[in-house]
């Protein structure tokens, strides 16, 4: 092919790309696409139990997978689960590789600028946990007590700020150290995320960690593309119905061993 034909071809390709790049300005109607296709593509995690992991039979399992199946069921379509990582879940949504992102997604300003969020569907918080026999309604009640945290985590930084001066804070190198310290009775109170507390509860310990007070609340939301009011409204409706009829609570009990908080 001679040089003139090559450049002509490149210019035609560039011109053809323009409608593709400008098409995102229009309102999307994902609901109609999904109904026509018969499947809804949902991005789910596969490396973050209990929200998403791979079972021994190599099938994905977790809170987010159950949520995806619930939404697909209510929409009357099949769920096509697309495994993603924390780094690529939003780009997958933006490039239309998936319709929804259900991946323990937290809401913040940078993400709000590029995607939309539905109502919250899963609790995700850092708090202070202790057995029922311990009373600690606020940070001031921790005076004189020993509390275990994972070094460098958000709970560590926040707790150091709000705990009284005579609280003894024991910092372990990782979540496993903190869990071991609680299970072996080395510390009675731990400050950690609800996911780690669920991991402790899953081991059926004699002393069950209960939430005493919240340090930081960052529930999980479902992510979807901007300018898609139909899908957003429908998913919010499904979430609200699931909260009311107890099916969301069943998922929370199965994977987090606690009920859905009332203020979710």
């Amino acid at each position: 092919m001679n040089r003139k034909a090559f450049f002509a071809g490149m210019i035609v390709a560039l011109i053809l790309m323009v409608p593709v790049t400008t098409s995102t300005m229009a309102f999307a109607d994902t609901l109609a696409d999904v109904a026509a296709r018969g499947t809804i593509r949902v991005a789910v995690p596969q490396d973050f139990p209990p929200f998403g992991s791979v079972g021994t039979d190599m099938a994905p399992q977790g809170y987010d997978i159950d949520m995806a199946n619930l939404i697909a069921g209510k929409l009357g379509v099949k769920a096509e689960l697309v495994p993603v990582t924390s780094a690529n879940r939003i780009p997958y949504l933006q490039t239309n590789k998936v319709d929804l992102v259900i991946s323990s997604l937290g809401k913040n300003a940078e993400r709000e600028a590029v995607i939309d969020f539905t109502a919250a569907y899963a609790p995700f918080f850092n708090g202070v946990f202790a057995p029922a026999s311990v009373t600690a309604k606020t940070a001031a009640d921790l005076a004189g007590k020993t509390i275990g945290v994972t070094r460098g985590a958000i709970e560590d930084l926040e707790l150091t700020k709000i705990a009284p001066a005579d609280t003894v804070i024991k910092r372990y190198e990782d979540n496993n150290g903190t869990i071991s310290a609680f299970l072996s009775g080395q510390v009675e109170i731990v400050a950690t995320g609800n996911v780690v507390a669920a991991a402790i509860l899953a081991k059926n310990p004699p002393k069950r960690p209960e939430l005493k007070f919240l340090i930081k609340n960052s529930p999980c939301y479902i992510g979807l593309n901007k300018n898609d009011p139909g899908l957003a409204a429908k998913v919010n409706e499904i979430i609200a119905a699931a909260k009311k009829d107890g099916s969301l609570n069943a998922i929370a009990q199965k994977w987090l061993h606690t009920d859905v908080p009332a203020d979710l």
């Binding site: 070094r151 024991k170 372990y172 190198e173 071991s180 072996s184 080395q186």
Partner: protein, 223 residues
């Protein structure tokens, strides 16, 4: 290289560093004194002790020498509570270091005892000394003198190995370095400074042990 070195955090976090140094020094002082004592007792048991005691001590020594220190520490701190034996992390760290140094120094000191010429024991018997008196007055100090450099090295190894007690939240020097790194995000500077401090502590400990050797074994043959 675009990295900007910054040691300003030293001004903010030096109390944590000082506490870490203090805890590390305490750990090795207690560990060395009781560990070497345990080592002498076990070496005597294996070399000169009654026949029923030898397998017991051998089992202990071989178990400790053939398992990692971190596993021993985790067992004492996380495992023993389920058998009803609860203890704080400083106690667990001390006990783990004493048990560890005891096993290794037992083998080192036993080599010194076994290198003692038979004539020394016979001299003790001929002076109507009991076997224990022979050990205490005639054998033990020359045995220690023979293996003193190796024992010093082992003590320093255990001091440097004490850095793993940071895993059970004992606030030693390594824990201080990790803590500073997780607050200031200055990993290179934090670990560089703590490495220098460990180096200084090791050199200091070697000098102290050399001085103790000079005091304990005054008739050491000149090189």
């Amino acid at each position: 290289m675009n990295y900007h070195f910054s040691f300003n955090w030293l001004l903010i976090y030096y109390p944590e560093l000082l506490k870490g140094i203090r805890i590390t020094v305490q750990l090795i002082l207690i560990g060395a004194v009781f560990g070497v004592s345990l080592g002498i007792a076990c070496a005597w048991a294996r070399a000169l002790g009654p026949a029923w005691l030898k397998p017991v001590v051998t089992a202990y020594v071989e178990l400790i020498r053939n398992t990692p220190f971190l596993i021993q520490l985790f067992f004492i701190f996380f495992g023993l509570p389920s058998l009803g034996l609860q203890m704080g992390e400083t106690s667990a760290a001390n006990i783990a270091m004493i048990i560890n140094l005891g096993a290794y120094s037992c083998e080192i000191i036993r080599a010194g005892i076994q290198a003692t010429p038979k004539g020394q024991f016979e001299a003790g018997v001929s002076l109507a000394m009991t076997p224990f008196e022979t050990f205490r007055y005639v054998v033990v100090l020359p045995s220690l003198q023979r293996i003193w450099p190796a024992l010093c090295s082992q003590i320093i190894i255990v001091m440097l190995g004490s850095s793993v007690v940071s895993q059970i939240a004992a606030e030693d020097l390594t824990f201080a370095a990790n803590f500073i790194q997780s607050r200031s995000f200055r990993a290179f500077e934090a670990y560089f400074v703590s490495t220098l401090i460990y180096l200084a502590l090791a050199v200091l400990l070697r000098q102290v042990l050399k001085f103790i050797g000079g005091r304990l074994f005054p008739r050491r043959a000149p090189r």
